[in-house]
């Protein structure tokens, strides 16, 4: 058979291909074993670092540990990871004690060196750590990263920036939030949540005014308006109201309706309840649910027959939530309805209200 393999090209090709596949299988299995060994070693180092540093980090909740072991080069990434996680989970003076501990261990030097790493996760860890370490000389670099880095890197830079210097950082972050459509608004809100709501309100108000003056129809205005939950609402009121008088997109209108909170502004919601875009009507119905009075009942009752399910649903919820709208009143409205969709929706909302 051996001579056949040598003489028959088909048998020879199949044989050598099989041999190559077998050798490749052997090599791959060796790599599997190597990967397992490497992983076990890494896990052991991580465990050792956790055993060494976690009790000391936990101690920072009460006091800075009196004596600290030396932070070894090979442990620097694991320590910074544990330390950053501790910073994220502890609050108040504990964070200050963690900072003292890191300074004593010269963690900043280690973090700065990691910035030059070829590994993205290490560079990102360095950005996060330097933010927690309040490395002020790092601010210009972070401000540039907020503008130019890819999504995750820029978001982490933004977080570090506002952590080091919120008064300076909130402005550039909001500017980027308006222009960078790769930034999820949820992430920006998460970053701003850590800042003083008063500070965010003034910066956000300025950013909204600036955006309206520059290009009121740009999607950036909607993005800024959707950040209202991170700011104190009083200083924002003027900026939000200006949206209603400017030539803005329907998305911005819907976002502005979600920002309304002052009872005197209910007129905008009433006016927009009949807007041609259904999602504006939805936002208006929700706003009426927050700000409406008994006199809004007929408006909302009319919206129960809207052709869009969501408008009917929000109008029904708003109607059920109006002041003095008790069960007999809702029963009477239900009895007066001729549209079966409106009737079904009101029954649905009443059942929801009853179950809460």
């Amino acid at each position: 058979m051996v001579s056949d393999i040598a003489s028959d090209p088909l048998a020879g090709t199949a044989f050598w291909a099989a041999a190559a596949a077998l050798v490749a299988t052997g090599c791959l299995l060796c790599l599997v074993v190597l990967a397992r060994v490497r992983l076990l070693r890494r896990l052991a180092l991580s465990r050792r670092a956790a055993v060494l540093w976690n009790p000391l980090l936990a101690q920072c909740a009460d006091e800075v540990p009196a004596s600290l072991p030396r932070l070894r080069w090979r442990d620097r990434v694991r320590f910074l990871l544990l330390w950053c996680n501790a910073q994220e989970s502890l609050r108040g003076e504990s964070q200050e004690r963690l900072l003292q501990m890191a300074r004593r261990l010269d963690a900043e030097t280690h973090a700065r060196r990691l910035l030059g790493s070829n590994t993205l996760s290490r560079r990102l860890l360095a950005v996060v750590a330097l933010g927690h370490l309040r490395a002020r000389d790092f601010v210009p670099m972070l401000a540039a990263q907020v503008q130019w880095e890819p999504t995750l890197g820029s978001l982490l830079a933004a977080k570090a920036l506002v952590r080091i210097d919120a008064a300076f950082g909130v402005g550039p972050v909001l500017t980027a939030a308006a222009t960078r459509d790769d930034w999820p608004i949820a992430s920006v809100a998460n970053i701003l949540r850590e800042c003083d709501p008063e500070l965010v309100a003034f910066a956000l108000s300025t950013a909204i005014h600036r955006q309206i003056a520059k290009d009121a129809r740009a999607p950036g205005l909607t993005r800024l308006l959707r950040l209202h939950a991170t700011a104190r609402r009083e200083p924002l009121r003027d900026a939000v109201l200006k949206t209603f008088s400017a030539d803005v997109s329907t998305d911005a209108l819907a976002a502005a309706l979600a920002d309304l909170w002052h009872p005197e502004d209910v007129g905008h919601a009433r006016r927009l309840l009949h807007h041609s875009e259904w999602f504006v009507r939805v936002a208006a119905a929700r706003a009426l649910g927050r700000l409406g009075t008994a006199e809004d009942a007929p408006r909302l009752t009319a919206s129960l027959a809207d052709r869009q399910w969501w408008v009917r649903y929000r109008a029904a919820q708003a109607l059920c939530g109006l002041p003095a709208m008790d069960e007999p009143a809702l029963e009477a409205i239900g009895a007066s309805l001729t549209d079966p969709f409106a009737r079904d929706m009101l029954r649905h909302a009443r059942a929801e209200r009853a179950s809460v």
């Binding site: 291909a17 099989a18 299995l29 599997v32 982490l156 977080k159 399910w309």
Partner: protein, 469 residues
Amino acid sequence: MSWASVIDAVAWVSLIYFVTLAAAYLLVNACALLELPRQREALVASLVPRPHSGFEPPVSVIMPAYNEEMTIAASVGSILQLEYPELEVIVVNDGSRDGTLEALRNDLELVPFPEAYRRRLASKPVRGVYRSTRFPNVRVIDKENGGKADASNAGVNAARYPLICVVDADSILERSSLRTVVLPFLSDPRTVAAGGCVRIANGSTVRGGFLEDVGLPRKMLPLLQVLEYLRAFLFGRLAWAPFNAVPIISGAFGAFRKEALVEAGGYRTDTMGEDMELVMRLHRRNRLARRPYRITFLINPICWTDAPESLGVLRNQRIRWQRGLAESLSLNRSLLLHPRGGAAGWLMFPFLIVFELLGPIVELGGYLFMIAGFAFGFISAAVFWSFMALAVCIGLMLTASALLLEEISCHVYKRPSHLLTLAAASLIENLGYHQLVLLWRLQGFWRWLVRAPANWGDMKRSASWQKEL
């Protein structure tokens, strides 16, 4: 042309196909290998700063259920324990003949709810809607039997939130699964669908609706399926993610942007592979309309499912899957080599046709040809044994590469004995099991060709891991 040259030509075609198949799958694994660092980096980075935490969009979890009276309450319980800030659970009882609705009624303390049901997607008539008095975010839709796709559509109709996640009633999710599968929707607004990897729960320990200890099945059949899942359903899907050409998001666990799903028409009820067909349709519609979109596959959000432990059930499943593949490709054939098809139309679609759809014909044909040729003496022993050795070695090599990817990525099977068991099983897999599965797949293809009546078969599952719930 003489007989000898015909035989020679067929043998060469078989050989070339086997080698091309190996090269193609190795290339797929290489693509998965390139995608791995990106997913791992994102995971590592998200562990540190938690960039999206607290602002995740609310999710409607849809759980179609048919004859699940033994497990449904535990399944709902495990969904309610997921780490996610805001979710609603919609259980759709698809006309179960057992006590599924009763089990739900008792466990969730259901009361009738006058839902203003919004019929955006066609489904069989809804008999009633119930709301849980124990968990305000749980509703149950009771409808006439129409199949899983039909039940999922009914669930979508009742969903309130912008993202929906369809979960099998017999699946077990990791606590963080939902949070992770939503991340692509947060980081890329173009995302319309995201799927997570599905793994086999047989042999693992489940407590309180969650997987406590990962183990390997003690029975051979599910053990061999673990290897298949690793090779085909994990890295075979991950490889397509960087090209935005993921061919399928498993019906056992997948998240969708509701409006994109509704706009595409929801799940088709006339196909056996409704999950794959939906994803192929999303590719086709978005690519051909030049709409920016993204369909993502993530390795880390893990969903554990029960693998068939009997040959009959496994056979039905594989026949169904192959038929579903054929139907999905056939229904979306306009994507194939379309000028606007991109990677989905020019890479993924031809790959599926050549290696997944036609693979069983060529592979089994090659085996039969060699066996017959050897038996009747027109193929030499050298050619026959070399060919068989090649077929086995290629199978071993592909499994070994999948094991390597598993080791450097998820590392789910932690004990050294797991590795040894899987390596040993890969040998058995290529000495009979793989060929048997090819035969079933061929049957599935044939049934599609002759338009045989659809038959889901009896999908009895052991759910041995559920006994500890």
